[in-house]
């Protein structure tokens, strides 16, 4: 059964130096608050996995938490580059990071395999691309019935998966809706999982398009209102597009990035204090 914990305590318990972590969210429900907490706690040598590493992974990479990144698309959606990611790959700043690069289809198949207790997933993928030469975790497999050649990718089973969701009940059952991404698979594939939620309610009521992740496959639920910001939680908040745009300037330059981390992450104690620090509280819409 999931425990209801403070985010600080959940991160301290489940994210260790050297952990393999997945923080998923496909534009929607990205667990930014949890990413900040990992930086605050000074974790190092993380193997960070994500289909679409965006701002929060840029922060983790720039802050020196990550030694390896497994991913399929690393950009600031609608804005441009992830400058800290680029600086790490192009210039080894703040240090060298290893990258393991896949396609979305391959990453999705890897999470599904992980959630299914299989060691690999099968897809029609990567054929003819140069990714095959760069990524050792792409192999061919032969169909035993048709002799067709297909592609195999290994399961992903993170030490800990962190996601954000709309809400949970007091027993730790988690409910999310809207764009579901690969979050459920990432939680089910992980050895431990932390879910930050917009609110904790007495009883989950049905919501169209919602899925429930039962408490007994979740390790910790943390109440962090607006904890996906500048991403959003459908029904609770809107995507803060201007914040994504402003990140471009902040992250472009090492010094301004370091200052931002120093002031707004290391200089704050939790997500509320971070929100006041960057002045986003006014942008938080209430539950509609």
């Amino acid at each position: 059964m999931a425990e209801i914990l403070e985010l600080k305590d959940a991160v301290a318990r489940y994210v260790k130096d050297g952990s393999t972590i997945a923080m998923e969210g496909f534009t929607h429900l990205i667990p930014h608050a949890a990413g900040h907490e990992i930086i605050r706690q000074g974790r190092r040598n993380l193997h960070a996995i994500r289909m679409t590493p965006d701002m929060v992974y840029d922060q983790l990479i720039g802050a020196g938490c990550v030694s390896k990144l497994t991913f399929s698309w690393g950009g600031n959606p609608g804005v441009g580059s992830l400058h800290r990611f680029r600086d790490a790959v192009e210039n080894n700043w703040p240090h060298q990071i290893e990258i393991e690069e896949h396609s979305h289809a391959g990453m999705a198949a890897r999470y599904v395999a992980g959630a299914s207790g299989l060691p690999f997933g099968v897809l029609r993928g990567y054929v003819g691309t140069d990714l095959v030469d760069q990524t050792s975790s792409i192999k061919t497999i032969i169909c035993p019935f048709t002799d067709e050649e297909l592609t195999a990718v290994p399961a992903i089973n993170p030490d800990v998966t962190i996601v954000h969701a709309q809400r949970a009940d007091r027993e730790g059952n988690v409910q999310l809706w809207g764009l579901l991404g690969v979050q459920r698979e990432a939680v089910l594939a992980a050895k431990a999982s932390i879910v930050t939620v917009e609110e904790i309610v007495e009883k989950l009521t049905p919501v169209s398009g919602a899925v429930v992740i039962p408490s007994w496959v979740v390790s910790a639920v943390c109440h962090v209102r607006n904890g996906a910001h500048p991403s959003y939680a459908s029904g609770y908040s809107e995507r803060d597009n201007s914040f994504y745009k402003s990140w471009d300037d902040i992250a472009k330059d090492r010094e301004s990035f370091e200052k931002w981390i120093e002031v707004h992450i290391n200089g704050t104690t939790d997500f509320d204090s971070f929100s006041r620090s960057v002045g986003i509280s006014a942008l938080v819409s209430t539950n509609g």
């Binding site: 496909f26 990611f85 192009e90 993928g125 691309t129 991404g181 995507r239």
Partner: protein, 268 residues
């Protein structure tokens, strides 16, 4: 959506509207979708930006409408305004069905249900291969790009691929530094040898006109130019020795109906 400023040579003007090169690409892509939809072949896998705008414009201009699928899990999206990101809530709220990301790639893309995939990238080579991974070498990159995303499997599987890219010497290269998405590979027969099920890049829509693969050589040939564009301009802005089709023709001017629908969509 940021629009590039209009240059005299690549714009037309209808009514009070000034047509940008983005507008030109969007309208021409929408027309292709309209034709495909009329033939019952317009289930589109779209990304954000010009493809999404073009696909939504086609939804407003043509009947039957194309069916829009976004990799964020939205099937049959009918956004009333242009989505700002692939995860825009508007996409989910107006969809026939929202599914998980793994399902979009397995049950929908991989299963061969997509008629049209849109792609773009930093480099396109003469055989329609696309690079969205890295400029320079993979190990010592000059510019690290975002990477593959959904592109490799869209390129492999979609009934056909429409590429939308600005035509420049830097982007239209003889050979991509990295092959992220497979077009016709090294030329004729290569897709077939690899067993790829999709049709590959059938049309490249640029700010200068349209390129299409030569059916025999698979090499991209300039087959259409927008009004006011010259063959020399196309050749100059292409990094390989570009062939101009003998029967090259000029794209239809953007109509009032088209530009008005586009402006309405953009201001919604």
């Amino acid at each position: 959506m940021a629009k590039t400023s209009t240059s005299a040579s690549t714009s037309a003007s209808t009514s009070a509207n000034t047509i940008s090169t983005d507008d030109l690409m969007i309208v021409n892509a929408a027309r292709v979708l309209g034709t495909l939809a009329a033939a019952g072949k317009a289930v589109c896998f779209v990304g954000i930006g010009l493809p999404s705008t073009a696909a939504n414009l086609a939804r407003h201009l043509y009947s039957p409408e194309p069916v829009l699928i976004y990799e964020s899990g939205c099937i049959g999206s009918k956004p009333t305004r242009l989505p700002l990101s692939i995860g825009d809530g508007e996409l989910a709220d107006t969809s026939d069905s929202v599914v998980s990301v793994p399902e979009i790639f397995s049950y929908w893309l991989q299963a061969g249900r997509i008629d049209v995939g849109f792609l773009g990238g930093a480099q396109l080579d003469k055989f329609g291969n696309i690079n969205s991974t890295v400029i320079g070498s993979y190990d010592k990159p000059k510019t690290r790009l975002p990477g593959a995303g959904g592109a490799p499997e869209i390129a492999a599987t979609a009934g056909q691929v429409i590429v939308i890219m600005r035509q420049t010497k830097r982007a239209f290269v003889d050979r991509c530094d990295f092959r992220t998405s497979f077009g016709f590979g090294d030329g004729p027969g290569h897709r077939e040898r690899l067993g790829l099920r999709g049709g590959g890049p059938k049309i490249v829509i640029t700010d200068l006109g349209v390129l299409e693969p030569d059916p025999e050589t698979c090499e991209l040939v300039q087959t259409q130019m927008h009004r006011g564009v010259t063959a020399e301009q196309c050749i100059e802005n292409t990094g390989w020795k570009l062939r101009i089709a003998k029967n090259i023709f000029t794209t239809e001017a953007v109509t009032d109906r088209e530009i008005n629908a586009l402006r309405e969509l953009q201001s919604a």
